[in-house]
């Protein structure tokens, strides 16, 4: 008898799109995070953000119960693929949220296309996922690597009046893309990147690089991911360096800012989010996170939270009926959330959110370091002001995008 009900609901009723009947059957959502290895901190923050969102919806979206299945990819591409298979093939997940790292997302790119599984990325920022190699089943709930740093380049030149800047960045795709985006707008507004230092992701100590920084620059743009920002900034101070530091969003992300000391104060960065954004939606969100986890939300927490909100928004558009994947995908691409921790969010046709970008400055407030918002660039596209066509025709953001002068 129950089997008959399910049969009925999945075939006959689904075709008729009679949503009330579907409420009986939970929607299976696969969530790929990282619980072991070097990326575990980001993974945990993602889990926290996602849980918060799920709790907010009491485990139900558009009248359907959400059955969340979590998998640990260990931050390894090969395992990520297995985990995607586990979620989709064994556990029957209909939508995926995850994974954490860009190389993980790329490792399952083909698999997602083959199985036509809608996937929402809560953190992977690799540009091409929504640019030159857009995957029709993929949307992203965060900015691209360069999305926040186009405005920062302009801000550095126009508002801060910096002329000469040295860039130091993690020597991997994320760092390359951030640096290129920053350099592009900075130089178009009259600035000059005079030096580019690329430190390997696993650099043990930054003394070698800090001491190479050109003493004549106006500021240093430091683009780091993970815990490297902590190391760099404290060393920077200990080497007695005085030049102001501009950071990438992740250099002073809230996830690591809580571990930093005074060395971070004054760092100006850009991001599509700051825990200090002063809107009711964000205040509510931050308060909830602080209550549950006693920490400010950062990149990963808010990314996963928003991925979950995207899911909710799309499910509401299709009234919880996900049986028509194309229709669901269309709804996902059509996500429009006027009020969120990010601010207003909608997606471009590549599945990439158009976001308010804030320029933030690290200050000590209420006894803790915060990314205080000093300027907002509203509704910034991943293509900045260039437009998709022109942008996609220009060279790919890479390590060798444009040499320093």
């Amino acid at each position: 008898m129950p089997r008959f009900c399910i049969l009925l609901s999945t075939t006959v009723l689904a075709v008729l799109a009679l949503t009330p009947a579907q409420a009986a059957e939970p929607l299976k959502v696969g969530f790929m995070t990282v619980r072991s290895g070097a990326l575990a901190a980001g993974g945990r923050q993602m889990e926290e953000g996602l849980k918060l969102c799920m709790d907010e919806h009491h485990g139900e979206m558009a009248g359907r119960k959400i059955d969340l299945i979590t998998a640990d990819t260990a931050g390894q591409p090969a395992v990520t693929k297995t985990k995607a298979q586990e979620l989709v093939e064994r556990d029957g997940a209909q939508v995926l949220i995850g994974p954490l790292a860009a190389f993980e997302a790329l490792a399952i790119d083909d698999y997602i296309r083959q199985t036509k599984t809608p996937i929402i990325s809560p953190s992977a920022a690799a540009e091409d996922l929504t640019q030159r190699k857009p995957n029709p089943w993929f949307v992203r709930a965060v900015g691209t690597s360069a999305q926040a740093h186009h405005p920062l380049g302009e801000y550095a030149a126009k508002d801060l009046h910096y002329k000469k800047i040295a860039i130091i960045a993690d020597d991997f795709a994320f760092g390359h893309e951030i640096a290129a985006g920053f350099q592009r707008t900075f130089e178009e507004n009259g600035g000059k990147v005079v030096q580019k230092l690329w430190s390997p992701l696993n650099t043990a100590e930054y003394g070698t690089y800090i001491t190479q920084i050109d003493p004549d620059v106006d500021a240093v743009f430091a683009a780091f991911a993970g815990g490297n920002g902590i190391k760099f900034l404290s060393e920077y101070k200990n080497y007695g360096m005085q030049k102001p530091v501009l950071g990438a969003m992740t250099t002073v992300d809230e996830g690591i800012l809580k571990r930093m000391g005074n060395e971070a104060v004054g760092v100006i960065s850009a991001g599509w989010y700051s825990a200090a954004i002063d809107t009711p939606a964000n205040k509510k969100f931050v308060a909830a996170v602080r209550k549950a986890y006693n920490a400010d939300p950062g990149y990963y927490t808010v990314g996963a939270y928003m991925a979950c909100q995207f899911l909710n928004n799309a499910l509401e558009q299709v009234k919880g009926d996900i049986s028509n994947k194309e229709a669901f995908m269309k709804a996902l691409r059509n996500v429009n959330i006027p009020e969120s921790p990010y601010g207003p969010v909608k997606l471009d046709k590549f599945g990439q959110p158009i976001l308010d970008i804030t320029i933030r400055k690290v200050e000590k407030k209420d006894g803790r370091l915060q990314n205080v918002v000093i300027k907002t660039y509203p509704a910034v596209s991943q293509f900045w002001t260039y437009g998709a066509d022109k942008f996609l025709k220009s060279p790919v953001y890479s390590r060798d995008w444009k040499p320093a002068k």
Binding site: P77, Q85, R90, A102, L106, A107, F172, S398
Partner: protein
């Protein structure tokens, strides 16, 4: 030499289980896990040639897996080569790399050998990471479509499983032959008594080098299948952790045996991919299992299980036991 039923039975059972596997499980997911075990087993078997039979502990075996995988994907998906040509070049070039690496690593022995292999592996990792224009850097290289050899659709998990199982069978066969061959026996002699072997007229270096290259060849085969399976490769494939994992598979399963690396591969792949869904701290469990193996079966799971079985059968069959042990030692 006769093979006693006692000794052949576990192997037959394992082989039967491998053949029947797709019919025993409920989801394609498990078939895919089995394919991964088979690929890891080929890599572990090839490493075991060095460790178990040559006494050379390598911490750089991911090099062959990774380079063959990179070449396969690059050549077929990005440089416009056909699948067959791509596969032949990938395996050929990786084997040539093994020739070079063997030449360098065999300058030293023992810990020095281990460190040179480790360093060479890390250099390749660095190159893969840094030479982004060719390798895609940390974003990796994808886009490979699985081939259709002889009209077989390798996109079907079960067909793919039998495809890799076929290669495992060939690998086991070739390696079993190798172990009993003149070269294989010479290699085992150089492992036990290098100086003596020299005095008997053996060019120890050459024998080790040839075996090193042979091992690299099978590592390359594993890399080819790895590329077909994952259709994606990134620097992590080349990283020290992959080499260490493979080394652990071999040691945990039992060095110098044919079955050991297969069992070790199954252990690690299952813990990492399947058990991790149920036990958050699966890595601790894996570590505990390794420690337990060392405490209770220091020679590895397969020889340890053999010993336990023998003990169960008691002393009434000593003659069979003696024979079994001599076969086991000969490289069963």
């Amino acid at each position: 030499m006769r093979f006693s039923a006692f000794n052949a039975l576990p192997r037959l059972l394992v082989f039967a289980a491998l053949l029947a596997m797709p019919w025993l499980v409920t989801s394609d997911y498990y078939v895919n896990i089995a394919s991964q075990i088979v690929i890891a087993a080929i890599l572990a078997l090839s490493l075991n040639l060095l460790i178990g039979f040559g006494g050379m502990i390598s911490l750089g075996h991911a090099a062959y897996l990774g380079v063959a995988a990179y070449l396969t994907i690059y050549l077929t998906a990005h440089a416009g080569f056909g699948h067959l040509t791509g596969a032949v070049i990938a395996i050929g070039a990786t084997t040539v790399l093994a020739m070079l690496f063997g030449y360098l690593a065999l300058r030293a022995s023992g810990l020095g050998f281990l460190m040179i292999t480790l360093a060479l592996g890390q250099i390749l990792w660095g190159v893969a990471y840094r030479w982004a224009s060719l390798t895609g850097g940390d974003n990796g290289l994808g886009g490979l479509k699985r081939p259709h050899p002889f009209g077989l659709d390798l996109n079907d998990p079960i067909i793919f499983y039998y495809f890799v199982l076929f290669f495992l069978a060939i690998a086991v066969w070739c390696i079993a032959r190798f172990i009993q061959s003149g070269l294989g026996q010479s290699l085992q002699g150089t492992r036990d008594q290098p100086r003596r072997m020299r005095a008997l007229g053996y060019n120890v270096w050459l024998i080790q080098w040839l075996s090193f290259v042979f091992s690299g060849f099978w590592g390359a085969v594993a890399g080819l299948l790895y590329a077909y399976y994952h259709q994606f490769v990134s620097p992590q494939t080349l990283h020290l952790t992959t080499s260490a994992e493979t080394l652990l598979m071999v040691i945990a399963g039992g060095t110098g045996t044919l079955l050991g690396p297969v069992v070790g591969a199954a252990l690690v792949v299952i813990l990492k991919n399947v058990v991790s869904a149920y036990i958050t701290r699966w890595l601790i469990l894996l570590g505990v299992i390794f420690v337990a193996i060392v405490l209770f079966m220091p020679e590895g799971l397969v020889p340890g299980a053999r010993r336990a079985l023998r003990a169960l059968r008691g002393s009434s069959r000593t003659d069979t036991v003696a024979e079994a042990s001599s076969i086991a030692k000969d490289g069963a």
